[in-house]
Amino acid sequence: MGAELALIYYSSKSGNTERFVTRLGWPAARIPIDADAPLPDQGDPFVLICPTYADGEGRGAVPKQVIRFLNDPARREKLVGVIGTGNRNFGATYAMSGRIIADKCKVPLLCSFELAGTDTDIARIREGLTKLGKTLCSTAT
């Protein structure tokens, strides 16, 4: 088995995504909130979890720090999939950041979840990441 699939996430001060990742128990690095802070290094293939912060029309859905992170082609090349998060009560822009990143970076949208996720979300994402890690391992050989 090669290296485990890495996980990178953004979480603002409300901390929903942070609480999700803690419960998930998968090794993960956080994109910092502070615009001057150094971004995590990414050498391995990774999945990105990104909350949505849109205006009413869907503009600005992807947080600026995530844009900053993805603006480096070397990092983008290692992105294998994205998970969008949000709150269904936002209607048509629910978890829109995931769809935008998937389109833009031509990677699959793996799934979406609300706020800090449910136990069902934890189980299916853990399983999905494990499977995806194995698939990538076998395609890499």
Partner: protein, 323 residues
């Protein structure tokens, strides 16, 4: 001492110096969300309204008067009661926006009524809401917490429960009608309210978390116990309210699942873990789709998982991503 509030020296608010950038982020979202009921073509629902049975009509009007009561409370008492506890001047400004939108919400139910119903039906429903014991019980439980001199963080707990939990026994019905292609313009208006409540619950919950983080463990435990106890109390009332409203139409069990799902989300807004297990919180997919139409995600993890193809990333130039 406690009853003698200190006169605050008024200071001009400077939006170019923020103590908490969430205040501006939320202010911006709330102001772009601004809407009025006149924007929604409610009268297009008149033919659809005519297809409902008398009982379905009565149920719908009652549900909307119940929602009107909650918005009235949040407009006149809830949001204003949070203002003295604000920790930044910008938070106070955000709360004035929230308070005003609650008035718009409360007002918009009357627009629905005047478009679809007779004066007699409307008056009957308001009388019902004044007298309904479950509705009055939930109003009282919340208002007791909002009372002056009460713990500011407990007030925020009650406020988040109102915003993110108590509305949903009512919101269920227009989402249900919409899933059956009925009252779809009314549902559009309700979705605007639901979107506002999502920001309100988020923001008040976030401010709760900031206060909570500063406390020692004993105080944190006390507040957490308070939150879960209040949730149990409100949940008990909501169960009875739901049975009284939805038994006859046969939707009670479906609504209760929706209550569990929303109770969990309300607790998450406060930074707490969910209370109800997934088995009893998996909402009818038709209702979920009615909440967020056109947001359907192709879910790779639910698929076979064997079809992963590494795409050729188009060279994304920095300017592609508009800051």
């Amino acid at each position: 001492m406690k009853d003698m509030p200190q006169t605050k020296i008024p200071r001009a608010i400077n939006w170019n110096r923020l103590d908490d950038d969430k205040d501006l982020e939320v202010w911006n979202r709330l102001t772009v969300n601004f809407w009025l009921p006149e924007k929604v073509p409610l009268s297009n629902d008149i033919p659809s309204w005519a297809t409902l049975t008398d009982h379905e009509k009565e149920l719908t009007i009652r549900v909307f008067t119940g929602l009107t009561l909650l918005d009235t409370i949040q407009n006149t008492v809830g949001a204003p009661s949070l203002m003295p506890d604000a920790v930044t001047p910008h938070e106070e400004a955000v709360l004035t926006n929230i308070a005003f939108m609650e008035a718009v919400h409360a007002r918009s139910y009357s627009s629905i009524f005047s478009t679809l119903c007779s004066t007699k039906e409307i008056d009957e429903a308001f009388r019902w809401s004044d007298e309904n014991p479950h509705l009055q019980a939930k109003a009282k439980a919340i208002l007791d917490t909002y009372a002056p001199g009460n713990d500011p963080l407990k007030r925020k707990i009650a406020s988040v429960f109102l915003e993110s939990f108590l509305f949903y026994s009512g919101f269920y019905l227009p989402m249900y009608w919409s899933s059956r292609a009925k009252l779809t313009n009314t549902a559009d208006l309700i979705r605007l309210i639901i979107r506002d409540e999502a920001v309100h619950g988020y923001y008040i919950g976030y401010k709760f978390q900031l206060g909570y983080e500063q406390l020692d463990e004993a105080r944190q435990q006390e507040l957490k116990d308070y939150a879960f106890n209040l949730m149990f109390e409100l949940y008990g009332i909501e169960n009875q309210y739901t049975e009284e409203l939805y038994d006859q139409i046969g939707l009670t069990e479906d609504v209760k699942v929706f209550l569990h799902y929303n109770a969990n989300k309300a607790l998450q807004n406060l930074g707490f873990e969910a209370l109800f297990p997934p088995e009893v919180s998996e909402v009818n997919p038709a209702i979920l789709a009615a909440l967020s139409p056109d947001s359907e995600n192709h879910d790779f993890f639910s698929g076979s998982g064997s079809s992963y193809v590494i795409g050729k990333a188009v060279a994304t130039e920095d300017e592609d991503w508009d800051f």
